[in-house]
């Protein structure tokens, strides 16, 4: 099928739409008020305690945890980037689906044990657990630093998601004095202030609004859009025809993409709950059973994600052309829906950026406070002092991410995020193995972490920028292309075992 160039659709350009803007502002104001009011929600005796500010009192039941972890794990960037990848390359972009399915059996088996350790010993972070288990300040420090460094670009990514909807509202490019992207800056500063005052209660409360809005948007979109475009069969056919015409991507995986698809899914699933923001959601729940129930209930969001990914194909079926792939979701809503519903969708995505960004900054702040400030600066710090340090740190972390997005190229944040995924996966042996065995000791785990961290970064460093995949020399002439994070994890574990064997514990002398 050849397309008449004259009939080819123009590249989508956002325009200022007042009804969309009004709806967006209404919901943004609503969650801002909720963010500040959250300090009084399920009110503790005092918020000046790290357990209260940083973990919401460790008191969240099944439903709050469901909304919080769902709102925190399936981020605004997901809603923008997954359909963008599917729009660009097709089937390969769907690896997010198996990833967010196989993550839950892992959560079910591992996270209740981690929660119990944290609850028993009043631990707040992953690095606390590692220190408690191995009594090694060095291992604690590398786990904490890895967590903070991996989280920073993740926060920046949420800003990219938010930027996409601000652009769709026709508001991008507004500078006030030296501040580029003024609306984004304002939105993020508001978020920083209510997180400062309310702690984890703010994103937990806002997550209710965010998640319900996203469910409404996606359910409407996956019913209405195919009706407008001639059904799902037509959507797939049009997308398939576009890929065939472009000679790139497709409705199925290419032969060399299969190992990449599977290893990306598995590696991402293992890494997902090593991040400070997801662990914060776990530690904030009120029982091990709450976590198990959530492993059963959270896949509802995965179904949603699978449907969100379909928006990429709907973009093809609607004949939308975009200057940047990240515009595909806003462009789809702008093209197919009235202004107010588009505004509702943008608000859902925008608020969807706030919840994870808040939890991420809290998780990073908890790590800094517990595993750096308390460990090295002031070991006598009180829980109230910890809360004070964590509050200031959460501000610093968010402002840092904002500066990165406003002043540095977007690619910088994306590259760091890719590396962050590889790095955070290298903390898994230190954090998880000790739950099941006492065999491993700190030197081995430390050596394993170092080899995984350095080796993973080195493999990711390609001649044309960073890459997530590496061809391994087996399984056919072209080799097998595999996710680097997983290769690094295998090296990590191998080194940990080897070092542990070599530095065998001397037999305990008879006392």
């Amino acid at each position: 099928m050849t397309t008449d160039p004259a009939a080819a659709p123009a590249v989508w350009t956002p325009t200022l739409n007042y009804s969309a803007l009004a709806v967006f502002l209404f919901f943004f104001l609503l969650v801002t008020v909720m963010g500040f009011v959250a300090a009084r929600w399920r009110k503790p005796e005092t918020l000046a305690h790290i357990d209260e500010w940083g973990l919401g009192g460790r008191n969240f039941g099944t439903w709050i945890t469901w909304f919080l972890v769902g709102g925190d794990f399936y981020t605004a960037y997901t809603v923008i980037a997954v359909p963008a990848l599917v729009y660009a390359v097709g089937a390969y972009g769907f690896f997010a689906l198996p990833y967010t399915i196989v993550v839950y059996p892992f959560v079910f088996l591992v996270m209740p044990l981690l929660w119990k350790k944290a609850k028993e010993m009043n631990y707040v972070t992953s690095a606390d657990i590692v220190h408690g288990k191995y009594n090694s300040r060095a291992l604690e420090l590398v786990v904490a630093i890895t967590g903070v460094v991996a989280t920073m670009p993740y926060i920046a990514l949420q800003l990219i998601g938010m930027e996409a909807v601000i652009k769709a509202l026709g508001l991008s490019g507004i500078s006030v004095g030296p501040i580029h992207n003024f609306p984004l800056t304002i939105a993020f500063l508001i978020l920083a202030f209510y997180t400062y005052s309310s702690g984890l209660r703010a994103p937990a409360l806002i997550a209710f609004v965010k998640d319900i809005m996203i469910y409404i948007v996606v359910i409407v979109a996956v019913i209405v859009v195919p009706m407008k475009l001639g059904g799902y069969g037509a959507v797939f056919d049009k997308a398939g025809a576009d890929f065939a015409a472009a000679g790139k991507g497709g409705l199925l995986l290419g032969g060399n993409q299969m190992a990449a698809y599977a290893t990306l899914a598995l590696g991402s699933a293992l890494a997902a709950f090593m991040y400070p923001h997801t662990l914060t959601g776990i530690f904030a729940s009120n029982s091990a059973n709450t976590i198990r129930k959530n492993a059963v209930l959270l896949p509802a969001y995965t179904l949603l994600l699978g449907l969100i990914a379909m928006l990429g194909y709907m973009g093809h079926a609607a004949g939308i052309k975009v200057a940047a792939n990240n515009d595909i979701v806003p462009a789809l809503f702008d093209t197919l829906f009235s202004g107010w519903f588009a505004g509702f969708a943008y608000a859902a995505i925008g608020i969807g950026a706030l919840v994870p960004a808040a939890v991420m900054s809290i998780g990073a702040a908890n790590l800094f406070t517990r595993n750096f400030w308390k460990a090295y600066v002031n070991p006598q710090v009180t829980p109230a002092g910890e809360a004070a340090v964590a509050k200031v740190t959460s501000l610093v972390v968010k402002v840092g991410a904002l500066l990165v997005i406003v002043y540095l190229p977007t690619k910088f944040a994306l590259d760091l995020q890719l590396l962050g995924g590889i790095w955070i996966l290298q903390t898994l042996p230190a954090l998880v193995f000790g739950l099941y065995t006492n065999w491993f000791r700190a030197p081995g785990l430390l050596a394993g972490w170092a080899v995984g961290f350095v080796g993973g970064s080195w493999m990711a460093w390609g001649p044309e920028g960073l890459k997530p995949l590496q061809a391994l020399p087996f399984g056919g002439p072209a080799g097998t292309t595999v996710y680097i994070g997983l290769i690094a994890l295998v090296l990590n574990v191998a080194v940990a075992i080897a070092v542990n064997l070599v530095t065998a514990r001397r037999p305990v002398a008879a006392a």
């Binding site: 399915i101 059996p105 209930l297």
Partner: protein, 65 residues
Amino acid sequence: MDRRKSRAALWLLLIPYVGLLYPAFYNHLEPRLWGFPFFYWYQLAFVPITALLTYIAYRSVRDDD
């Protein structure tokens, strides 16, 4: 509850890994379902299947603590 039976239920949690991590098995267009190629509906179907398997595992361990 019988401990052995409760451990047995945990093996069910391997099924999603086996079902999803070998893409050659489901990388096909046919048979389609409601317009969805096999690749898509097969993976989407694993969402409720995994939730169900996890629920069965949950029922077997929830009284452990």
